[in-house]
Amino acid sequence: MAMATEPIAPRSDTAQGAWRAVLRRRYALYLLALAAFTSVMLVLERVGLPRVWIATLFLLLPVALYASIGWACRTSNPMQYFVAGRSVPAVYNGMAIGADWMSVASYMGLTGLLYTYGYGGMAFVLGWTGGFCLIAFFIAPYLRKAGLFTIPDFLGARYGGQLPRLIGLIVTSICSLMYVVAQIYGIGLITSRLTGFGFEMGIFVGLGGMLVCSFVGGMRAVTWTQVAQYLILLIAFIALAVWFAFKQTGVWLPQAAMGQQLQQVTQRERELVADPREQQVVAHYRREAERHIERLRDVDAALALERKAAKQHLDQVAQSSDLGEVRAARKALQALPKDAPTAREEWTRARDDMLARAQPLGGLLPQAQPFAGDPDGDAAARERFQVSRTEFLALMFCLIAGTAGMPHLLARFYTTPTVRDARRSVTWALLFIVLLYISAPSLAFALKHEVLHAVVGLHFEDLPRWIFDWSKLYPTLVSVHDVNGDGVLQLGELRIASDVLVLAAPEIGGMPFVLSCLVAAGGLAAALSTADGLLLTTANALSHDLFFKVMRRDAPLTTQVAFSKVALLLVAVIAAYITLQRPSGIVSLITPVFSIAAATIFPALLLGVVWRRANYWGIVAGMSVGALTTLLYMLMQGGPLHWAVLGAPRERWLHIPPEAAGVLGLPAALLSAVVVSLLTPQDRAAQAWVATLQHGGPHSLPQRDV
């Protein structure tokens, strides 16, 4: 079928060289403009331009820029729309992958995790970079060689038939949808903090910028916007890490400052653990936890008792004339749980929350200590250590395999001119990603350093402004509460949700307001770039794999593009709707996605490339078993995906946390794929196709559309 109607990838070396020169010029210009804009804003802040203006300009101008890049790249050419004309040089594809990959979870979530869980957060650093090795060794070059359009497309071509393609499509859609919800949630957080827009309004502005891009220009527009977004997100993040490193240690390089920062943090942590006022706070939370434990012993009786007490109180105050008091008493009665199951749920949550707070350092693990518990301590400490280590390894395993099977990331490898460029773009991408990931620990240590030294121990009336600003806007994310009534802030009395740490970092460090805006703009770039890639991946899969390959095989390619645009709008609206229900947090939304991808797409791609004998029924069985194992374990275990129909959360199996269910799903998928493949007849055509994929020269890959 004829595909290209307009000139696409420049083929010759001279044309490639000229094309690269154009790109270099354009992005150099962009960087200059960014620097100039930031400097002008710094001057305007000095002169006294209202903050709201600075913030709005900082958020709207980049979004307008992304939208205009998107508009300039508008296309209806299928080759351009689906795979950017396969003309993206390796370095730029590397940057685009970097932006595609680093979402709000990397930009905002990761540093917060490292702050909150210490070494535990490293599972994300290792998982989200380590997976790229598997991609480079076994997946990216072969995907590019197959030269198709989507990941389900590869499964369809490799295994034949419709089922592998359809299962791939379903998994791709579910993963991308959950992932995109996390991004839109991040967009809402950023815009509502910095501008006067509310959470909802922020979502729609962000969504608008994102849609202009992917809607009018598909992969081509998304690619060139992502390069711009990568640059701004990296610059903002590194600026933050460098500022803190220099401020705290006098060393410019965050990676070199880390050791000193950590030692100062550890020193201060020891002081705080021994501080009697911190211990008072811990004792208070323990009493609260015990109160909930007592209530949970007999929920019905406790609830009846509390209801009776609240009613009595209401009757008492009803006699008095103080209306405010009556209203408060009525509210207290209404606030009681409706029935016993609700009460059990609420009190269990409150108990776990209090138990987590009733630890030294406000429940934060010591920054330098790997894992909780103690391998040489008593039985309980040994158990805690084992559990903590198992959770780390299971999570890391899922993140690695999930990375190597993440559809929106892998689709980018179709966009390079050659297989060699696909390989090269993995190296560039990983380098660009690692630049941020090895700065995140330093930033986390720096923030801990700042909070422990400069915030804890202040009198409540002297607390910095950011605490009040944030807690007024999002009381669930940031709060202070003088538990022991001494008028001084203890670490245990301060709560900061890990998602807001990076956004608040410039204020925590006392930087100019313009830097807060730059960091927010970087976060917005991270969210928008990933969301763009995700929306496009889902829409393309729906259009190419469902509409074209399954339903209307005679549809012209231009109709596919039109269909993809409709699907894009639809997915965006669904995602925005889900986000408006206010999900629980960025990372808890994203981790299950990695487990699902690890147990389905990853084994299907890996076996598809390395094992010729893997066949249609094998992979159908493998992907189904992998998906079912993972989902069932998550649904039974509680956590964000717990499904009440399956009963109360069960005991964990081998200490595996629900979000890391992929550690069970992946082996199950591999095992069933191998067994079923060996039990069913060989597929000669598929074997020939893989042989060509592995060794054959150009243009010899046989057509395997069924």
Partner: protein, 89 residues
Amino acid sequence: MNANEHGVGDDAARLPGGRLALALTAVWGAITFVPPLFARELGFEVFGLPFALWVAAQGAPIVYVLLVWICERRSPDFESSPGDDGDGH
């Protein structure tokens, strides 16, 4: 050769650059999984950080970049493919 006669490992080794990829995977697996397994034991200091922490924060990510780079440089060229000349498949 009958594809039935060899298993997954043999097939992987037969990929272009397959032996290299398997060797790199072994190095990758060692640096990824061993330090977390023995994180408490590997507590001696490197650049002011406990070793396992340093590996996770800087060492392993940098080694990953090197491994991927070696794979890119040393893997045999195989070119492709339908689609990249603009003809579609």
